[in-house]
C-alpha cells in the first residue's frame, strides 16, 4: 500500500502553497483601488468617519502588520471580522459553504453522467453521425455563455413549463434537489462538453490500442472491451482535466449562483469584492484555494487508484 504513502506526506506541501496564496490574495485585494470604509459609509462618508472605521478594522496599520495579524488569526482558526457584515468571516463562510459545495458536487456528477455516455457514443461510432452530433453539441456547450444558458433554461423549465423553481436554494432535501436541477445543469452542460471532448479522444485511442485488440483476440464482445478495458484506461487523463478545471468550475459557480440566486460562496465573494470587504475576500479566496488544492489531491488519489502504475 505504500503507493498511497503520499497521502500522509502531501498535506505537508499544502502549507507553503496556502501560505503563498494567502500572501498573494492579501496583497492583491489591497491593490484594487477603493476603500471598504468608504463603501460602508456610502455617499455620506466624511473623512473623519472613514478614518474611524479604518482604525476600527486595523486598516490604518502598515500592510505587513495587517498580514501578520491575518496569519496570527489564521493560526487561531479565525479569519478576522467582515467589514460589511460585522461578523466573524469564518462564521459567515460556514453559513454559505453548503450551497456551493452541493452545487459543485452535483454539477461534477451530472457532467460525468452526461460526458461518459456521450463520449462513449461518439468514440464507438467514430466518424459517423452520432460522433458528429456529439461533437457539435460539445462545441455548442463550450460556446454558450453560462448566464445566457441559465436564462434560457429558466424561461423553458420554470416560466413556460412551470415544472422547476426559477431560482433560490430551498430548505428540505426535495426542495433543494428541485432548486439544484437547473443550476447544476447549466454548469454541467459546459463542463461535460470539455470532458466529453477529452474522453472521446482518449477512448478513440484506446479502442485502437493493443490492449483492446488483445481483449478482442480472446473473444471478448465489444461491450466488455469498451466498458471494462477502454473506459478505465481513458479515465485517467480526464480525471486530471477535471482537477485542472476546478478553478474554472469555481468561476462558473460565481456566475451561476448570481443568476440562480443561490446563497453560496460565489455570491458572497462578488459582493465582498464590490464592497472591498478585504477579510471576506481573503477568507473566501483561502477556502477556494484549499478546495483547489484538495481537489487536486483527491484527483491524485483517484489516479493512483485507477492506474496501478502511477506512483506519487
Amino acid at each position: 500500500m505504500h503507493r498511497y504513502r503520499f497521502v500522509l506526506f502531501r498535506p505537508l506541501q499544502f502549507l507553503p502553497v496556502l501560505l503563498g496564496i494567502s500572501v498573494i490574495t492579501f496583497i492583491l485585494v489591497r491593490l484594487i483601488p477603493g476603500d471598504p470604509a468608504r463603501v460602508l459609509l456610502g455617499a455620506r462618508s466624511t473623512p473623519t468617519a472613514i478614518a474611524r472605521i479604518r482604525a476600527q478594522y486595523g486598516l490604518d496599520e502598515p500592510i505587513w502588520l495587517q498580514y501578520f495579524y491575518f496569519i496570527e488569526n489564521l493560526g487561531k482558526g479565525e479569519m478576522g471580522k467582515s467589514i460589511l457584515y460585522k461578523i466573524d468571516v469564518l462564521k459567515l463562510i460556514l453559513t454559505r459553504i453548503e450551497p456551493t459545495l452541493v452545487l459543485v458536487l452535483t454539477s461534477v456528477l451530472l457532467s460525468i453522467l452526461i460526458a461518459v455516455p456521450m463520449a462513449a457514443l461518439a468514440a464507438r461510432n467514430s466518424g459517423r453521425l452520432a460522433d458528429h452530433a456529439v461533437r457539435i453539441i460539445s462545441t455548442l456547450g463550450i460556446g454558450f455563455p453560462p448566464f445566457w444558458l441559465a436564462l434560457m433554461l429558466i424561461i423553458l423549465f420554470s416560466v413556460k413549463l412551470g415544472v422547476l423553481p426559477v431560482s433560490g436554494y430551498g430548505t428540505s432535501f426535495l426542495d433543494k434537489a428541485a432548486h439544484l436541477v437547473l443550476p447544476s445543469l447549466t454548469i454541467a452542460l459546459s463542463l461535460s462538453a470539455v470532458l466529453t471532448r477529452s474522453l472521446r479522444a482518449a477512448m478513440i485511442v484506446e479502442l485502437q490500442s493493443d490492449l483492446a485488440t488483445a481483449a478482442r483476440a480472446r473473444g471478448m464482445p465489444e461491450s466488455i472491451v469498451f466498458w471494462r478495458h477502454v473506459l478505465p484506461n481513458s479515465l485517467v487523463p480526464t480525471i486530471n482535466l477535471l482537477a485542472v478545471n476546478i478553478g474554472w468550475l469555481i468561476g462558473g459557480t460565481v456566475v451561476v449562483e448570481t443568476v440562480f440566486a443561490i446563497p453560496g460562496m460565489g455570491q458572497l465573494l462578488v459582493r465582498a469584492i464590490f464592497s472591498r470587504d478585504y477579510m471576506v475576500v481573503q477568507g473566501v479566496a483561502m477556502v477556494f484555494a484549499c478546495a483547489t488544492v484538495l481537489v487536486n489531491f483527491l484527483a491524485d488519489i483517484v489516479t493512483v487508484t485507477l492506474d496501478p502504475r502511477v506512483r506519487l
Binding site: A214, A217, G219, M220, R228, H229, P232
Partner: protein
C-alpha cells in the same frame, strides 16, 4: 503430417487506400497439423502477422478486408462467420500471443482478472471457479506464486513474466490453436529461450497446435516442425524445418539464412584482427571504477533520504584508438547508462572517465567540449533520431556547419562524400526521413555521426529495430568504415551474435558490473563466467541440431526474472 487442424486455402487480403487497392496477402495456402509448431518467417511487411489476424477477422482497419480464400477449422470456414460466431472462435478455439506484452495487457487490470475474464465469458464459470482456474493456468505458465500473483498488475512483472501472463491469457479458454506473433522479440536472449521452451512444453502437455511468427531463423530452427517463408504477402517456400534450412529452394530463403548473425563469416574475421594495433597505444577512452547511481522513485521515510540504485557499479574499461569494443548485456545491465555517462549525459557518482586525456569529472567543461566535437552517437530508433522536417542533406550540412571543421564552400561536396561512405545514393540528400526505409534512415544516422569526423562512435543498439537482412547490411557497413577510416567504435548490443561478428573485444555486463572481458573469439569459445556461458547458450542457433540453451537448464541462468 497428421490430419490438419487448420487449413488455409488461397487466403487473399486487400487494402483499399486512397481508392487504390493493394494486395497484402496474395493467395496464401498452408495447413497446420495437430500438435504441430509451424514457423511463419519473414521480414517486416511480409504479411506474416496479417495472415494470422485475418484468421480470426481481427484486421487492423476497416479498409483492410479478406477478399478471397478460405480458412477451415472444424468443418467451418472462418472467413464466412459473422461477428458473433467468430467471437466464439477467438480465445476459445484460437488463442493469440502478441509481440509486446506490455501494451497488450490491460495495465489497470489485475493479471489474474484478465485471465479469468475469458474463462467467465466463454465457459460461463462463476467468479470463484474462474479465479481457481486462472490460478491453475498461472502455475502452468511458470508463475512461482500464482495465488498471490493473481492480484498483481502487469507493470509489477518483468518482460518475461508479462509474456508468460499473455500466454496464460491466451490459454485461458483451452484453445486448440495458439498463434504467437513475435512472442520473444522484445525480450532478452535468456528470457527468450525460456519463453520458447515454455511454448514447446505447452505444446507437449496440451497437444496445442502453434503458429509461431518470427523474423529470427534461429528461433524457427530451435522450435518449429515446419517453416513457411513469406515475402510481400506471398508464400515463397514451405517445408520441413531441416529441408528448408538445409536445402533452401528460394533465393530469398538463401539470403535470409546468410544474413543470420549466428553464421560465422569466413574470411572477414582475420582481417579485423590485423587492424588491432599491437603496440599499447595511449587509450582514447579510459574508464576507472565508474559508479552511476540513481535515486529510486518515491519518498523515503528515513533521514538521509533516498535509496540509490547503482546502474553502473565499479566499471573500468580502456579503449585504444582504432579498436572496436562490444558491450553486451541484457536490459537493466547498465550498458546504456555507461554510454550516456561517457557522453556526459548523466552525472557520475564516483570514478573517472577520461576522453583523449581530459577527465570528465575534473575538467568537465573542456572534456565535454572535446567529447561534443570528437565523439558521436548512433541511436536505436532511426526514425525518431532524425528531424522529420529536414532533408538528409540539410541535416548533414547543419552538423558540418556547427562543427566548423569543413569550410562552408566544401560542405555540399562533403555531404556527398558522407552519403557515399554510408552507401546511400547522392539523391538522398534531398529526401526526408519519412520517405526512407529503416535501414536507409540508420545509414543517414551513421552519416550524421561521421559528419562530426569523430574519433569515437558509440552505437547503442543501433540495429535492434531493423530487419535481419538490413541488420547484416549495417554491420557490413560498420565493418567497411572501420577498416577504411580507422574508427574507434563502442558497440552496444543485447544480441551477442552481432557483437561476435563485428568486434575485436567484448565486454559482458551484468547488473552494472563487467563480469567478463576479452577478445571476442576467446570469450565466445571459452566463456569464463557462468552468465556469459548462459548468454551464449541462449542464442538460438540456426542449426536445429544444436539444442536451445546448449543443454543448460533454464533455471540455472541468473536472469533478471526477479527484478
Amino acid at each position: 503430417m497428421s490430419e490438419p487442424i487448420l487449413s488455409i486455402r488461397d487466403l487473399t487480403v486487400n487494402a483499399l487506400l486512397d481508392g487504390e487497392t493493394r494486395t497484402l496477402i496474395d493467395a496464401v495456402s498452408f495447413d497446420l497439423g495437430r500438435g504441430e509448431i509451424l514457423g511463419l518467417v519473414g521480414e517486416s511487411g511480409s504479411g506474416k502477422s496479417m495472415i494470422c489476424r485475418a484468421l480470426v477477422q481481427l484486421l487492423p482497419s476497416k479498409a483492410i478486408t479478406i477478399t478471397g480464400g478460405s480458412v477451415m477449422l472444424g468443418g467451418r470456414d472462418l472467413t464466412m462467420l459473422d461477428e458473433d460466431a467468430i467471437r466464439k472462435v477467438r480465445g476459445a478455439e484460437i488463442g493469440m500471443v502478441f509481440q509486446n506484452p506490455t501494451s497488450h495487457l490491460d495495465p489497470v487490470m489485475r493479471i489474474g482478472d484478465q485471465i479469468a475474464e475469458g474463462i467467465r465469458y466463454h465457459q460461463r464459470k462463476s467468479r470463484s471457479d474462474a479465479k481457481a482456474m486462472a490460478i491453475d493456468i498461472l502455475a502452468q505458465v511458470g508463475f512461482p506464486d500464482p495465488q498471490r500473483q493473481y492480484d498483481n498488475y502487469p507493470h509489477e512483472f518483468s518482460g518475461g513474466m508479462r509474456q508468460r501472463a499473455m500466454i496464460a491469457v491466451a490459454l485461458s479458454c483451452n484453445p486448440e490453436i495458439l498463434i504467437a506473433d513475435e512472442p520473444t522479440t522484445a525480450l532478452d536472449v535468456t528470457i527468450q529461450a525460456q519463453i520458447l521452451k515454455l511454448l514447446m512444453d505447452l505444446r507437449d502437455a496440451r497437444g496445442l497446435s502453434i503458429i509461431l511468427i518470427t523474423h529470427d531463423l534461429g528461433i524457427v530452427a530451435q522450435t518449429c516442425d515446419r517453416i513457411a517463408v513469406l515475402r510481400h504477402g506471398q508464400l515463397l517456400e514451405l517445408g520441413d524445418k531441416r529441408q528448408v534450412l538445409g536445402a533452401p529452394q528460394h533465393p530469398y530463403t538463401v539470403s535470409l539464412l546468410k544474413s543470420h548473425p549466428s553464421m560465422p563469416e569466413e574470411g572477414v574475421l582475420p582481417s579485423i584482427k590485423t587492424a588491432v594495433p599491437v603496440s599499447p597505444a595511449l587509450p582514447l577512452l579510459e574508464i576507472d571504477d565508474l559508479v552511476v547511481r540513481f535515486p529510486t522513485p518515491g519518498l523515503s521515510l528515513f533521514k538521509g533520504g533516498k535509496v540509490h540504485v547503482a546502474a553502473v557499479n565499479g566499471v573500468s574499461l580502456r579503449v585504444i584508438p582504432g579498436e572496436t569494443v562490444g558491450i553486451v548485456g541484457e536490459s537493466g545491465s547498465g550498458k546504456s547508462t555507461l554510454a550516456r555517462a561517457i557522453l556526459g549525459l548523466t552525472p557520475l557518482s564516483s570514478g573517472h572517465i577520461s576522453f583523449d586525456g581530459l577527465d570528465l569529472a575534473q575538467q568537465r567543461r573542456q572534456a565535454l567540449a572535446k567529447i561534443r566535437t570528437q565523439a558521436a552517437m548512433v541511436f536505436q530508433d532511426p526514425y525518431n533520431a532524425l528531424n522529420p522536417r529536414m532533408s538528409i542533406g540539410a541535416m548533414l550540412a547543419e552538423v558540418l556547419a556547427v562543427q566548423n571543421k569543413v569550410p562552408a564552400d566544401r560542405i555540399p561536396a562533403r555531404v556527398h562524400e558522407l552519403l557515399d561512405l554510408v552507401g546511400l545514393e547522392r539523391e538522398f540528400a534531398t529526401r526526408r526521413p519519412q520517405s526512407m526505409s529503416g535501414g536507409q534512415c540508420q545509414r543517414a544516422g551513421i552519416a550524421r555521426a561521421l559528419a562530426v569526423d569523430p574519433k569515437l562512435i558509440i552505437a547503442d543498439e543501433c540495429v535492434a529495430a531493423l530487419d535481419v537482412t538490413i541488420q547484416a547490411q549495417i554491420i557490413d557497413l560498420f565493418r567497411d568504415l572501420k577498416s577504411a577510416m580507422n574508427l574507434t567504435l563502442l558497440f552496444i548490443a543485447h544480441d551477442l551474435a552481432i557483437v561476435r561478428n563485428l568486434c575485436d573485444r567484448v565486454v559482458v555486463m551484468y547488473r552494472g558490473q563487467i563480469v567478463e572481458e576479452g577478445r571476442c573469439e576467446d570469450v565466445f569459445a571459452r566463456p569464463q563466467h557462468a552468465y556469459t556461458a548462459a548468454l551464449i547458450a541462449a542464442i538460438p542457433d540456426i542449426d536445429p541440431d544444436k539444442p536451445l540453451m546448449g543443454g543448460l537448464s533454464v533455471e540455472a541462468v541468473p536472469h533478471l526474472l526477479t527484478a
